[in-house]
């Protein structure tokens, strides 16, 4: 664990520059690998597709404060695709919300603080528990309405899996947010195109996805979900004087990104890793991704 950067200090936290973000994304993937090594298995593919999204949010875009996790004007983050919670845990650990010592305890026994899905009951800095797909956008829309009601300038980010968009409840919330002009709400779709049983669009078609969101009244941005520079730019929506519409960022990603034998391989949605594979993974993650 000697190859890790020290946790950044919230007291006057300075957003990371691009090289630092790339290094932080690498650290996030290693943290996730350490958690899954402790557990013996994990949702590798689901985590590694959203590593850069999480890194951009927590180390450049979002206003959060580990010394005051409930700070009223913090930006909210709802990790709706909660089966990839270890990426969130890593971000919270590296931002100083959670102790690093929790990493090797991940899922090792009943009662540890880091379990498969994030929970507000055990982890400071978590705005909504997760686990059941399809919930996050409704909860986030409620939080965004509350922010408008309170005239607060904070923003609400919701990370959705693309398979999660099969849930009808997503489209209930999608209809609601433009009605209330929630330009403080940003939905991010981790468009890795794989779900448990196969290609997302073969399981149930989503395309034309951008048009679908547009027709519901959303601003739509499409971005390479592993391009940190592009992610920071698109996610940092104005705190005041916005477009009057919620924004969905369709982040085109690769499931298992960063580990060659996992990339775009369906079985790595969730799998057991062998010691040889774990060693190969660490070798590949010894340098930041290009």
């Amino acid at each position: 664990m000697t190859d890790r950067a020290p946790p950044p200090n919230d007291n006057g936290f300075v957003p990371l520059d691009l090289d630092q973000l790339r290094e932080m994304a690498r650290i996030n993937r290693i943290d996730v690998a350490d958690m899954f090594a402790a557990a013996g298995n994990g949702h590798y593919g689901s985590c590694y597709s959203c590593t850069e999204i999480m890194t951009a949010l927590y180390f450049s875009v979002m206003r959060v404060d580990s010394r005051n996790p409930e700070r009223p004007d913090r930006d909210r983050f709802i990790f709706s695709k909660a089966h990839a919670a270890p990426t969130l845990y890593s971000a919270l650990i590296r931002r100083g919300f959670l102790p690093e010592e929790w990493i090797p305890e991940y899922e090792t026994k009943v009662g540890v603080k880091l379990m498969t899905h994030q929970s507000r009951r055990y982890q400071p800095g978590v705005d909504a528990s997760g686990g059941a797909l399809g919930h996050g956008l409704s909860v986030g829309a409620g939080m965004a309405v509350a922010a408008k009601f309170d005239r607060s300038d904070h923003r609400v980010y919701v990370l959705l899996g693309d398979g999660e968009l099969h849930e009808g409840s997503i489209w209930e919330a999608a209809a609601f947010a433009p009605k209330h002009k929630l330009d403080n709400l940003v939905a991010i779709v981790d468009r890795n195109r794989l779900s448990v049983d196969g290609r997302v669009d073969e399981v149930l078609p989503l395309e034309p996805l951008a048009d679908r969101w547009k027709s519901f009244g959303w601003d739509v941005a499409e971005v390479d979900g592993h391009d940190l520079e592009a992610l920071v730019k698109v996610l940092d929506v104005p705190r005041i004087g916005g477009s009057g519409k919620p924004l969905v960022v369709i982040a085109h990603t690769v499931k298992g990104r960063g580990v060659s034998f996992m990339e775009d391989v369906r079985s790595w949605h969730f799998d057991v890793i062998s010691p040889q594979q774990d060693a190969a993974l660490r070798l590949e993650l010894s340098e930041p991704l290009k």
Binding site: A128, S138, A141, G142, A147, S169
Partner: protein, 337 residues
């Protein structure tokens, strides 16, 4: 167009739709929309209180609140998952949403949303649902015969089944003051007023004895307390003394009062509920008595474990054994054996 023919002499023919509006008997003292008016009163001093509904504001009396506080009223559309998810999000930010729909749509359609985003996170959302149990003649799509079983199985959830307008007026401020998720069964429209004559006051988590009697103890909640009180009066003619213990808080159950009353020797215990016999107040009380070593003669009045018919509500209450006449005849039958 010709005016409709007047009804034939005698009782007007009962129709299904007529019974959506009210459960009041003919000539019974009623109050209009007690929930809506009570919520307006609470909201006057509680800026955190919001009203949210899934296109059923009018049929849950929430439109009264919407008229009084239009900027605190959220019309969510026919989208119950959104309703409860967004209510959780608003509660997370310090608001106290009162979210209304029909009991079937909350407890059956949106169960997972209530379970995960409200109960599991202990969010301060009040779920207020019309047409609980068998209070609609529309058939199983609108009859929430199992709502109490579903909601009391959920950790963190407080479950309330008020009897009348007098009680609803007191429940609303009580659950607004209570910190945590609540499921409240709603009677809307012209709601009977019964309990004022008993000097009754609602206390969250407390069961109250409304009348004494030596032969049978009726433990009841919701509209069945109204039936039990009427039945007890009728049973006097047969020299049967019926006590009535009203249990509006289904969860957490007032175990102390129930055990004390049921433990008095010589009385048959009859639990009466507007709910399937599966998993409601009856089985809650039965389990409590067994676990506590209290073994009175025990009977249950409730809806059968089947999909119920559509039709006029009084007819259905007779058929399924929860009308006053049915309660009287069954208690007489049980005591005569």
């Amino acid at each position: 167009m010709k005016p409709a023919a007047p009804p034939p002499t005698g009782k007007p023919r009962l129709t299904t739709s007529a019974m959506i509006a009210s459960i009041a008997g003919e000539g019974q003292k009623t109050k209009p929309a007690p929930f809506g008016h009570a919520l307006v009163e609470v909201a006057k001093t509680r800026p955190d209180v919001l009203g949210m509904t899934a296109d059923l504001g009018k049929y849950t009396d929430l439109h009264i609140f919407g008229q009084a506080f239009p900027d605190r009223y959220y019309q969510m559309g026919m989208a119950e998952q959104l309703l409860f998810g967004a209510a959780s999000g608003l509660a997370a930010e310090g608001f106290t949403p009162f979210a209304t729909t029909y009991a079937v749509f909350a407890t059956r359609r949106a169960y997972d949303f209530i379970h995960q985003t409200i109960a599991e996170e202990d969010r301060n959302v009040k779920i207020v649902c019309a047409l609980p149990g068998l209070t609609s003649g529309y058939g199983p799509s609108h009859q929430a015969a199992e709502d109490l079983a579903l909601m009391r199985a959920m950790p963190n959830m407080t479950v309330i089944d008020p009897c009348d307008a007098h009680e609803i007026e007191q429940v609303v401020p009580a659950i607004a003051a209570h910190r945590g998720p609540v499921y409240m069964r709603l009677l809307r429209g012209q709601v009977p007023v019964v309990l004022d004559e008993y000097g009754y006051t609602f206390e969250l988590g407390r069961a109250k004895t409304l009348r004494g009697g030596d032969d049978v103890l009726i433990i009841s909640s919701g509209i069945m307390t109204m039936r039990a009180l009427d039945a007890a009066e009728e049973l006097k003619a047969d020299r049967i003394g019926a006590a009535v213990l009203h249990v509006p808080t289904i969860k957490p159950l007032d175990t102390e009062t129930i055990l004390r009353e049921a433990g008095k020797t010589g009385r048959m215990v009859v639990v009466a509920e507007n709910h399937t016999v599966v998993g409601g107040l009856g089985e809650a009380v039965a389990g409590l008595l067994l676990r506590s070593g209290v073994y009175p003669a025990f009977r249950q009045i409730g809806l059968p474990d089947e999909f119920l018919a559509a039709g006029a509500l009084p007819t259905l209450h007779d058929r399924y054994g929860i009308s006053t006449a049915a309660v009287v005849s069954r208690i007489k039958e049980w005591l005569s054996r």
